[in-house]
């Protein structure tokens, strides 16, 4: 019954997510308002996409779906206290994001799809929506970290917030398709997850490194050792795909061991390492490539005959 309704289902979820966040901002946490705006937005987006799918222009529906994904980052960045632009800022950045996603981002993605550098994936627009939202949050977090480096003025605070949130809210959601495309030739996805996990384990190791000054504190070395090994193995996964089974196994073993002495990189680092290691271990890009080459050769021979 739901076959062929993928876009509508994605739009329903996107509508619920965008509507609930907008409702939360407009109705200041009032539950009825949030529910109403979430359901209203979901219905609106589903109706729009259903109507556009009947349109002759095949690009119309995906363009609108991408434009809808730009609503949240626009509202959050424009309405942020860091920029202090009020409702006018929120409106301006929402329009900017919607138009940017609708026109430029769509063209960029489609261009790279044709070049086989970007891979379409299930629930693509829903994931782009969630990652653009996460990008604003990550950009905001990083700008708060660099605040100590730049002069502490409203101008520089606003500028660093704007640059980091713009960069992450656009690049992070788009990067997923590029990662999936590159993952066909090397275990990039698993390697990236393990790299992130290794970074967290190393961070714990560096945080407790001053304790190494004390006698009998050998256990505190664990984070530095395991974190460095995880980073090195993750990089190896990118550059030596044929060794993916060994690298995946080693990544998983070290990720498990990182729970001794390094809290598994605040718990999440070890989990990312295990999942990343499993993805690297079970990666079958080489097998798929070999199968593709054989089928191409067979079809060539059949044509010749």
């Amino acid at each position: 019954m739901l076959k062929g309704k993928g876009e509508q289902i994605q739009m329903a979820f996107m509508g619920l997510f965008i509507g609930s966040l907008l409702g939360g901002l407009i109705f200041k946490g009032h539950l009825g308002g949030i529910l109403g705006s979430a359901i209203g937005m979901a219905i609106l987006l589903v109706v729009v996409v259903t109507l556009l799918k009947r349109h002759e222009n095949e690009e119309a529906a995906p363009r609108i779906m991408l434009a809808a994904a730009g609503i949240m980052p626009g509202v959050l960045i424009g309405g942020s206290s860091a920029l202090n632009l009020g409702a006018a800022g929120g409106t301006f950045f929402t329009l900017f994001y919607v138009l940017f996603f609708w026109i430029f981002l769509f063209n960029i993605i489609e261009g790279h799809k044709e070049e086989d550098r970007y891979l379409a994936y299930p629930a693509e627009y829903l994931i782009i929506t969630l990652f653009s939202f996460a990008g604003v949050w990550i950009g905001s977090f990083i700008s708060s970290l660099v605040r100590g480096i730049l002069p502490d003025t409203a101008f520089f605070n606003g500028l660093s917030y704007l640059l980091f949130t713009l960069a992450f809210s656009i690049l992070l959601p788009v990067s997923i398709g590029f990662i999936f495309a590159a993952n066909r030739f090397r275990p990039l996805l698993g390697g990236l997850l393990a790299l992130l996990g290794g970074g967290l384990v190393l961070w714990v190791g560096i945080s407790i490194a001053p304790m190494l000054f004390l006698p009998g504190s050998g256990l505190y070395l664990a984070g530095l050792v395991f974190g460095s090994l995880m980073l090195a193995l993750s990089l190896m996964a990118f550059f030596t795909p044929p060794l993916h089974r060994f690298i995946g196994c080693a990544l998983m073993a070290i990720s498990v061991l990182s729970y001794v002495g390094a809290m598994g990189g605040v718990i999440i680092g070890g989990i990312l390492g295990i999942i990343g290691g499993a993805l690297v271990f079970s990666w079958n890009g080489l097998e798929q490539e070999a199968a593709r080459a054989i089928s191409e050769e067979e079809s060539f021979l059949v044509d010749e005959a």
């Binding site: 994936y121 004390l214 505190y220 290691g277």
Partner: protein
Amino acid sequence: MAMIGTLTINKRRFIWTVVTGFAALLLLIGSLFFTGKLFAAFPLTGIGGFQVNADYIEGTGFELWPAIGETAEKAEWPQAAISMATNKIQGLVLSKALDVSKTLGKYGIHKIEFQVIPLGEVNGKGIKMNVTGIKSDVGDFVMMTVKEKYSKDVLKTFTMGADKVVMEKATINAHSLTASSMSIPMINIKVVAYDANGKPVGSN
């Protein structure tokens, strides 16, 4: 299935590998738990101790060596023993944090910190401390010696000493502090309550 195709993985192999990885993790955590070594997974929790913060510490006859001592939460824990013949401390704050979330959590108080703040310079003689952490912005050692010795007792294999030591903006996580004599001018004691987010509650 479509997503598995996008991930370029062998689905069955991936599921088995993830299950094995998390089973190994559970086995490790379980074995640490049942052998009473769970603290090894979280090295900075459960040690206990109180904080000694000071703007300026000057000590003479400084010595440091490995030791095993008790803490509020462990009967035995590796520590560093420090002794100083005399010392002079400015801006001293002794603080001890207690987790009271179980008893006072319902009133919004999750942590209580007792602070002992002498209003002036503290002078002590024959100071002995057991610590598990020292951090300072500046550490000056005069006539410093670091020596290893051969001994069957591992606690006697390493010593560090200095005729004079100066530390600025120092934070020490200590478990015991004794002194043969100590003059502390005008002690001010504060009890600071914190909520679940670590923010102070009410006035002091």
